[in-house]
Amino acid sequence: MTVRESLRDLIREELRSQSSVQGARIGIVSLVNSDGSAVVMVDGKGVTADLLYPVVKGQQVVLVPGDAGKFSCAPTLPNASEVVLEQPPFFAEAVGLLRFFVDESGLIAPTDTPTWRFQDQKSRKVYRQTLVDLADATFLEGGFNLSPNGQKFSVFVTISGQSKYVIRSYDLGTKLTDNGVIDLPNEIYVLKATLLESIVVSGISLSTNKPQDSFVDDKLYFLQQTDFNTATPPVPPVDDHDPLWSPTKLDFGSVFEGGPNPPDQTANLQVTPLPSDWSIVTGASWLTATPSSGHETFVINPLITFSVDITGLSRGSHTTHVIATIVTGSGTFTATMWVSVTVRSSAQTVFRFYNLRDAAGELVSVEVPFGSGTGFRWINPKILDAKNKIIVVKNTATGNMEVIDMVAGTTPLLTVTGLLNTAQNRTKDFFIQSFTVVSPSVTTRFIRRDKSGNHVVLTLVSPTQNSVAILLFNGTPVGYMMDSGVTVKVLTLSGTDLTGTTAVPDVSPGEADPTKVRELPSDGGSPFVTTFGFVT
């Protein structure tokens, strides 16, 4: 043994003998006790440790020995950045501001009554190569690598179909899963996330409870919910003459973004005693009153027509007021009427069929959003090469087949007819019905391609009517899986029809369930166009 080794042995011995030299370990929290301690699993054994910082079950921590055989622990990774769900102004629901943020001082149960749960208790991990705006998300969706460069993006969340919330400041991604309901304040609600594992979205219901917890990899971040009911909806000013309006408020209901304006509505304004002069001022440019003023000598309650123009209105609830000023011989009165309209995302019309699989079993996720008047909009055409074509849609009215040539860049419809964004198409029971596209501009929207590059999958389907989506695969189609909600018959244009039909459990758009994925039979290896015929 060299002198050097001998010295090192001596040093080791001395270090081991010193109480200040302790063994620290990396462990996983298996239990968080109410007394501020936690049980940390190390090498299969549980060690009780005091918390230097808040931890939750499943979190990776460093376990630090202290005096008298006691241990302390602290997370090995920082918590996530602030996540804010912010209510748009003038939201009439009794909800208020919902704020999720990270608090290193500990989890604090909300003190107010409203609690939350995710509407359908599921969220979905969607593979997106790039995404800066999830505005078309009806439900919260998962994402992957959404902001590798730290980009900020917004997520709009529909809450009980009434309004939307914006999640901001995601510089660390998060993901929620369908862990069901967590009772507050008795249970800890947490959000786990990992770097670049972005986003999180799901519908949130006002009806019952709770934030979610979820687990992504081994990194964990706190999600805290506070500030309930802090954003009080504006209260219409009290005016003794409000009853002069009949009705006293107008609700134009819910309309789709990019769609037609809601029908006009009318209200009567009592302007007595006559004669009188009256005038109307609306509180927002999207609301117009016709006529906006008048002089009455005989009519005691002139009828006013109100028109809403949603052009430029953001998605969400919009509320404004109408103030009438009535000048009579008895004095001057004002009367206020409130008017509201909700602009909904056209994503309501989207059919999402997830978990399409190629033969290699690689997940392929596809979204088919409906554009605003020019047909379908496909994003990310680069997934296809110039040889690929996706031929879309049999017009059941005419029998025509519509073709989209999926070349790189813009992919126009090849025919003069196309897909019309009709009001019917924008309903939940959307169906490709009448094809007229004046200026088709179509880009692909494939979220992910398969591993081998041989198969690109797209479906356009209607669960309620006969229609087809035709797919051409640049390679040999061996078998496909899909999770639509229809009975499926698979045909090939190149030859023999695939036999039989495949029953797939009915699911609604956006509710595809991986457990319902069914494999369709192979067409025997034809490299040609494959037609998916959907038979009701």
Binding site: I11, V21, G23, Y53, V62, T76, L77, P78
Partner: protein, 78 residues
């Protein structure tokens, strides 16, 4: 190198070795030199500069003073 420096180096080497092999923690003060793209830190201590240091429960900033704990071969800033 003086005998004193040689012994100090020897002690540091031994401590690092024990930290890695015996899961013993030798807490050191350090300065965050950089926060890296993978979320880890590069921390400079008296015994050397270490990269891949887990940031611990807080988000760290450059030049922040931290305690570096070695556990199971990993270094964690506290």
């Amino acid at each position: 190198m003086s005998l004193r420096d040689t012994i100090k180096q020897l002690v540091r080497e031994t401590m690092n070795e024990m930290a890695a092999t015996e899961a013993r923690a030798f807490n050191e003060q350090g300065i965050v030199k950089s926060t890296d793209s993978d979320g880890t830190l590069t921390v400079q201590t008296a015994s050397g500069t270490y990269s891949g240091v887990l940031p611990g429960p807080k988000t760290r900033t450059q030049n922040e003073q931290v305690i570096v704990i070695t556990a199971d071969g990993k270094k964690v800033a506290l």
